[in-house]
Amino acid sequence: MGRRESGEPGWMRLLRPLRSEDAAFRMVLWVAAAFAALAAVVLLVRAVA
């Protein structure tokens, strides 16, 4: 989330991942990595079960 910038409302910190194209692209990479890990776990559990 980071620190609050001068003049910025507190609730805007929640939207920081979408505040610029750079930030939005990083969010895509993080979400893709997280869900790839989740999918790998699900497939592993199904294979074991």
């Binding site: 910038e5 001068s6 003049g7 910025e8 409302p9 805007m12 939207l15 979408l18 505040r19 610029s20 194209e21 750079d22 939005a24 692209f25 969010m27 895509v28 979400v31 893709a32 869900f35 989740l38 999918a39 699900v42 497939l43």
Partner: protein, 203 residues
């Protein structure tokens, strides 16, 4: 009770028109607008995800609908959309660096990848083996993926406008906001597909 007195206008106030805009934060109005729009979009998708989980978990309707979902097709589309996010980011970087060839190549590639996604999804609809009338599960499958597909279509429209402006020479290091806003929207659409693909095809 005495009515409140209305202050008389200043005698020397020669200002005409609306007051000057007041910025209460350091966020540009265009960025704030797309952020609030995306928040409302997230809530719309949330309603569809709630319906999906209700049908799968609470109502106990058969999942997946029909004889199964083409996971490989959904995964291919995920790779295509992720690639389009990379090219979109490249386009924005090129705009900030003044790289005209990079901008043009990037926006065209992003558009083509998005169009390919839609083409594959429509082809999937035609060959999936069930219709929205088949069952509640089938309805929410078409509803959720169709909602996302509609957003891809809107994103393609925004990309087409951006491409037009890039080829007209209206986008550059000093004026790339018109490219950045569609870029944020495109990344949001990409993230939503990751959610849709995982919950509909994988889990």
């Amino acid at each position: 009770m005495e009515a409140a007195a209305i202050p008389a206008p200043a005698a020397h106030d020669d200002h005409h028109g609306p007051p000057a805009p007041h910025y209460s934060s350091r966020v540009a109005p265009e960025v704030l607008g797309i952020l609030l729009f995306i928040v409302s979009e997230a809530m719309l998708f949330g309603a569809f995800f709630a319906a999906l989980f209700f049908i799968r978990v609470v109502s106990g309707d058969q999942w997946p609908p029909g004889d199964g979902l083409p996971v490989a097709v959904g995964a291919t589309n995920a790779v295509i959309l992720l690639s389009s996010s990379v090219t979109m980011h490249w386009t924005d970087l090129s705009a900030r660096r003044g790289n005209v060839l990079g901008m043009r190549t990037g926006i065209v590639t992003t558009f083509l990848l998005g169009a390919t996604f839609l083409f594959i999804q429509i082809n999937e609809y035609l060959n999936v083996g069930f219709t929205p009338k088949t069952s509640a599960s089938a309805s929410i499958f078409f509803g959720l993926t169709g909602l996302h597909g509609t957003h891809v279509l809107i994103g393609l429209l925004l990309l087409a406008i951006s491409a037009y402006r890039i080829f007209k020479g209206q986008v550059g290091p000093e004026s790339h906001r018109g490219l950045e806003i569609p870029g944020i929207y495109w990344h949001f659409v990409d993230v939503m597909w990751i959610f849709v693909f995982t919950t509909v095809y994988v889990l």
